[in-house]
């Protein structure tokens, strides 16, 4: 029985392996592993939650589920860009915790084989770089592969400073 489940998990992981959802922030192309992605939706009305860092825009009602949304631009200290009809929310699930990522627009699902992925440079660890797991080469382009786990779990300094200001 457990074998069966393990087997089916294996196959689904297999089919998802190497697959990435790519999206744009300005001119930069990012990618996240498809296994984290639950769904992609257009912009939704957001309810603000006080006392949170600016990049956490608030919470949305996803068919009865309350999901927090993060503006990835702001997270990476980029300039805020007004949301438009191309703005998308990618809902990811990391270890049963849901988060919506607000991105400029979604491109496509692509395969990047392991051997085409190189680790990010060690130096130059800016805020953005911290959340990059690797750099994937697709033809002549590169995609920055996001580390979803880090993105979600890292208790960053900003939140703490914000707290002090209050």
């Amino acid at each position: 029985m457990t074998d069966l489940i393990a087997e089916s998990l294996e196959t689904s992981e297999d089919t998802q392996k190497g697959k990435f959802l790519t999206f744009l922030l300005g001119n930069e192309a990012y990618a996240i592993e498809i296994k984290f992605v639950i769904e992609m939706i257009g912009m939704q009305p957001i309810t603000k939650v006080p006392e949170l860092p600016e990049y956490v825009r608030g919470i949305i009602n996803l068919r009865g589920k309350i999901v927090p949304v993060m503006d990835v631009r702001l997270r990476f200290k980029k300039e805020f860009k007004e949301y438009n009809d191309r703005t998308c929310i990618i809902v990811v699930d990391v270890d049963d915790i849901l988060l919506g990522l607000i991105v400029d627009n979604i491109s496509e699902v692509i395969s990047i084989p392991d051997e085409e992925i190189v680790p990010p440079p060690e130096i130059n660890k800016c805020a953005e770089n911290k959340y990059i797991k690797g750099i994937g080469k697709v033809g002549s382009n590169v995609k920055l592969i996001l580390d979803c786990k880090k993105l979600m779990n890292e208790k960053d300094i900003e939140a703490v400073t914000q707290e002090r200001q209050l």
Partner: protein
């Protein structure tokens, strides 16, 4: 092959039932202590409980638990059979409770997913010692040792008769000889052999066998295991028939040797029983099932969402200004059904407080014994029901309160006598239902609280504000609920343990309840826990500030009103206050507190809501009131909870139109403001 004992429902059931049995056991012990004697019924009951635990835990491979239970079972077997005199009740009780504790402790480990590795051998030895002591003091029993226990005499006699009858036969004409080998590990080979003989009697007579003393002598087990079980008999059945009969009827048959001995014989008619059973089909269902709480939680969530979706449909803006008679009629029907469904689901989750209350008996017993105080516990209203989640939250606080009462409240007998009080101290634990809330009252007739010493201690710990105005009695007493009141100085074995009344307060607060204290010095203390019936759904008032919606539990709202500019007072630090009926309250502008953009900044344009928690009141300024409705509380999403604790919010909820409202936590708000964690 998968082992069914590895699966969860089985383990759940084992843990559930064992816990129940132990509780039952403790209850009988309390009863026993009250009448100060072990009645036949109570001995039987404890015997049965231990017997059951022994078997169940052995099935689950918890050998240590099984062994303890077995040892206690043996002890009570002796008590039941021999009815020895002059037993030391106290000692016996201690033994049983110690065993119960061991079992409880081990099952707790199992619940936590740890290994049950407790070593009960010391306890087992002491129980065995006690048993031998008992046997020694009751020589009658000693004399009869070796004899079959009296209760089984009936069975024994029959057996003796029977085995005599079988084995005392002279070697008559026998025409068959058989050797039966049983499978290894089938247990009680001698009794199995006895079963064979008994079966064989259907078709054979003049039966004799080796070994002969299969029932009386357990050594026969080894002989049968090694040499097989040898039977000689006479039967008029054919070799084939007999071979078939034995192969069919002998359970755990490993090997059968059958020899026919040529001899004359006669035919015996064996009544062939007709199968007289009529096919009848009855469905027999058990009327009670046990359900995993998570499933109930899930059901509760779903019903909550159903209520919301219903509101989304019925209050859909698309329906505005339409005349929909039939729709409205059906909608009302739907509302009625969802309402009933909600009630039904809530009622499933309701559990009586009795088990929690009963548990306190044990604490009172143990503590009063240790502290040499005479304390009686009175339970009132234990049938009162509350939500399952709440039960889990109040058990510890109650335990703490009871401990406090015994430790600090109730005086020793001499002291009580000197004060003209009854020698026995009495603690009353009472539950009652008052509509939306349940009150749980812990009352003792001990020495009560001393206002002066509370005040001086609070002052010393800096808990009383600079403005030492006249505090009401209740306010003084409630000082002991504050964090930092209970100091380490007076840690006693029981109520100390590093937790003070503030933990009680916190726990009760966490489930939306409140604690209040009343006391008369010299006469006793009464602590009342006010607890909501259920956690998940609350009646709330929704208010709006800018684009943000907030829901405030109705239970924490005192009133709402329009404030006048002249009511507002500003202190030197810029804090706003408001004067109402001669009382001064802090005024909090939600838009300032949470940095929300709004047009409504003039105090006369918006609305004031006076909210209260634990006697602390403050006024909240918002743009407008949206309305009152029942809401399903949802926690803030995990990501946000991990990020930081948002002060003054307990969660969020979905409103009928699908928008999200944040639930204000008045208790946290007042506390945060008071402690200066939050600036207005």
């Amino acid at each position: 092959m998968s082992d069914i004992f590895g699966n969860d429902p089985m383990l759940d059931m084992f843990i559930f039932e064992t816990a129940q049995l132990i509780e039952q056991l403790e209850q009988s012990i309390i009863e026993i202590e009250r009448v100060n004697c072990y009645t036949e019924d109570s001995i039987n009951e404890i015997f049965r409980i231990m017997h059951t635990i022994k078997s169940s835990s052995a099935m689950m491979h918890y050998e240590n638990i099984s062994l303890i239970a077995h040892t206690i079972e043996d002890l009570f077997y002796f008590l039941r059979e021999e009815n020895p005199e002059n037993i030391d009740c106290l000692k016996l009780t201690d033994i049983v409770l110690e065993g119960a504790d061991f079992i409880k402790h081990e099952t707790d480990k199992i619940v936590e997913g740890r290994k049950s590795d407790g070593d009960g051998s010391e306890l087992i030895n002491s129980i065995r010692d006690y048993l031998s002591e008992l046997k020694l003091n009751n020589p009658q029993a000693d004399d009869e040792e070796g004899k079959r226990p009296s209760k089984n005499e009936d069975a024994g006699n029959i057996l003796e008769d029977c085995s005599n009858q079988i084995s005392s036969m002279d070697f008559p004409n026998q025409n068959y000889k058989a050797v039966v080998y049983f499978e290894e590990g089938c247990q009680m080979e001698n009794v199995r052999a006895f079963l064979v003989i008994n079966n064989l009697k259907e078709i054979a007579e003049n039966i004799s066998y080796v070994p002969e003393d299969i029932i009386d002598n357990d050594d026969s087990i080894e002989i049968i295991k090694n040499n097989g079980f040898l039977i000689s008999f006479k039967s008029d059945r054919s070799y084939k028939e007999i071979h078939e009969f034995l192969s069919h009827n002998v359970v755990f048959l490993k090997e059968l040797e059958l020899y026919e001995i040529k001899l004359g014989g006669y035919r015996q008619l064996v009544a062939d029983n007709q199968d007289s059973k009529e096919p009848q089909f009855f469905s027999t269902r058990q009327s009670i099932i046990s359900v995993n709480v998570h499933k109930l939680d899930k059901l509760m969530d779903l019903v909550g969402e159903l209520v919301i979706s219903e509101a989304m449909v019925l209050k859909n803006p698309d329906l505005n200004n339409l005349v929909l008679n039939n729709f409205q009629k059906s909608a009302r029907q739907l509302q009625k059904i969802t309402g009933e469904l909600q009630d039904a689901v809530m009622s499933i989750r309701m559990v009586p407080l009795s088990a929690t209350f009963q548990r306190m008996n044990r604490i009172v017993r143990d503590m009063s014994k240790k502290l040499e105080k005479e304390v009686r516990l009175e339970l009132i209203g234990e049938e009162t029901e509350v939500d399952k989640n709440i039960i889990d939250h109040i058990s510890d606080p109650l335990m703490h309160l009871i401990r406090n009462s015994i430790d600090h409240g109730i005086e020793k007998s001499e002291e009580r006598k000197a004060k003209n009080k009854p020698e026995f101290g009495t603690i009353t634990l009472e539950a009652k239902n008052t509509g939306g809330d349940v009150l749980i009252i812990v009352k003792d007739d001990g020495r009560g609280l001393n206002k002066e010493s509370i005040l001086s201690k609070a002052r010393k710990n800096g808990l009383v504000g600079k403005t030492e105005r006249e505090l009401t009695d209740k306010e003084i007493y409630s000082l002991i609920l504050m964090a930092g009141f209970s100091t380490k100085e007076e840690v006693t074995e029981y109520s100390g343990r590093g937790v003070g009344m503030d933990v009680v307060n916190k726990n009760i607060d966490a489930i939306g309840g409140t604690v209040s204290i009343d006391s008369i010095e010299g006469e006793g203390t009464e602590i009342t826990l006010k607890i909501p019936l259920t956690l998940a759904i609350i009646d709330s008032m929704t208010i709006k500030t800018g684009e943000s919606l907030f829901s405030v539990p109705i239970t924490s709202i005192r009133e709402s009103f329009k404030a006048r500019n002249e009511d507002i007072i500003i202190d030197s630090e810029g804090n706003e206050m408001i004067m109402i009926r001669g009382q001064c309250y802090a005024a909090v502008r939600l838009y300032e507190l949470y940095k929300i953009n709004t047009e409504v900044k003039n105090i006369t344009d918006g609305i004031m809501l006076m909210v209260e928690n634990n006697g602390d009141a403050l006024c909240i300024f918002a743009d407008e009131i949206i309305g009152e409705q029942e809401v399903v509380i949802k926690a803030l999403p995990g990501y946000i909870r991990n990020l930081k604790k948002v002060r003054g919010l307990s969660g969020c909820t979905l409103l009928g139109d699908g928008s999200i409202s944040l639930i204000l936590d008045v208790g946290d708000l007042t506390a945060s403001l008071k402690e200066g964690r939050m600036k207005i």
